[in-house]
Symmetry: C2
Subunit: 280 residues, 2 copies
Amino acid sequence: ELLPSPPGFLSTGRGVLAPPETYTLPAASSSWEPRLGSSFPPGPAAGSPRPQAVAEPTGQGPKNPCVSGVTVQLEMKALWEEFNQLGTEMIVTKAGRRMFPNFQVKILGMDTLADYALLMDFVPLDNKRYRYAFHSSAWLVAGKADPAPPGRVHFHPDSPAKGAQWMRQIVSFDKLKLTNNLLDDNGHIILNSMHRYQPRFHVVFVDPRKDSERYAQENFKSFVFAETQFTAVTAYQNHRITQLKIASNPFAKGFRESDLDAWYCPLLPAQGRPQASART
Amino acid sequence: ELLPSPPGFLSTGRGVLAPPETYTLPAASSSWEPRLGSSFPPGPAAGSPRPQAVAEPTGQGPKNPCVSGVTVQLEMKALWEEFNQLGTEMIVTKAGRRMFPNFQVKILGMDTLADYALLMDFVPLDNKRYRYAFHSSAWLVAGKADPAPPGRVHFHPDSPAKGAQWMRQIVSFDKLKLTNNLLDDNGHIILNSMHRYQPRFHVVFVDPRKDSERYAQENFKSFVFAETQFTAVTAYQNHRITQLKIASNPFAKGFRESDLDAWYCPLLPAQGRPQASART
DNA sequence: AGTTTGTCACCTAGGTGGCAAAGT
DNA sequence: ACTTTGCCACCTAGGTGACAAACT
């Protein structure tokens, strides 16, 4: 039960950490386990079920009081949803690429004085490989998934820290980078291009007890935001995604044509979205 | 004995921390306690005693084994000495200014598995206020020191961390900023302009014992590098200092005139330094 | 007269998508 | 045919000293 699943090494802004004996994780990524009723390719927006306002913890056994009351709120939720309706794509590069939108959360209900580690991992949303049909502007299934790259986990660089510290302000995973390099030694998250993924967020109570391994399962709580799922790509496929990135990411401002779209407008009428395509 | 001296609050890259009960410091800055036989204004370079290669811990009582063996090595020592021979000046601004050279150290002899906090503070080198005589290119005593600003301490943002983590690579205090704003609420170090200061570096073992306050004095070790002392200024006084900053600080590259001084040359013949001036 | 402040041009450092070229 | 790579111009973000103006 003691994190056999996230093998390889651990990714953090502070450098690579040895697998921490005190941290424990839910089983991760190696096997295919769809977490949510993900409707993909993204259907007509109006028809899709709306994601919940606050993440649902993936329910499990009894939890330590230090984590049982923890609640997590996704920041930039409207932006995430805008992307998700179009079918979010995230660039992966050899050197590692940040996510946009950034994964940011507001945390509530921690024990102020207890130590926590915060981390993320990515699970495949299905067992398929995709390709994008430009003529129909739709994603198509292109076969079974490629072999899964080494599973990794990204610790927030400030881990471990007191609950008070984590709750003081929004927690941002802006040091997290995605790569398609199977041999990456920068501790980045390795993903298969043209595959679908679901980011997961884990709150781990750092148990001071000597036999803390025993309580591994009780000491963490995981959160999944369906609206953050995405397709990993080496180049954007859906032109609408490109345009929304340019419109909303400050670093892409150089590609904006005018001041008219100088800032992301969350309630822009999103007409003419690609229709659901046939899965072969 | 439990850090009464560094009052106010604590400065760290992670934000402002409540005074940590578990950390303990040597008495700091409020009272005037010259630490070293500092020869200032800087006399003829050849005549000055050379600073030691490795910092001398400020000797004290018995130490916890976790800190007793810790050794610290100053990085960019040659550059620090070059500045020190001219009489180092550090800019202070309302918004806060980084130090250049940066205070960076290599650490040896920590317990790999123990937790440590790393921090810095600044003690007045004397009880005087200075002014710079441009005609003679010399510093002169201009009276007694102004009232000491609130003493502060800068925790390295990665604190606390395991010994292994600290020793893995050079530790850099590049988030530390100096200000002259007595009302600063960014947690920066507050200094009096036209006064002389000695940076100090402290290694604090985070004692897991419940009654760790009892062992406060045993759990830290302090290091002082005489070559890092400086005068706080709001604008550079000695034109040679300005030129050396421009020549050696990458961020000031815009002020270099040619490629000839494109990089700092540590063994440049330092002729024509300002002579020792009369203290009134 | 001496010291401080604010603004500026000019850097470093690094995050964007575009695009042509190279892989496969 | 489809996907990946490398390089680029163009941004954000922020660290420099110069300098004129303001302060005291």
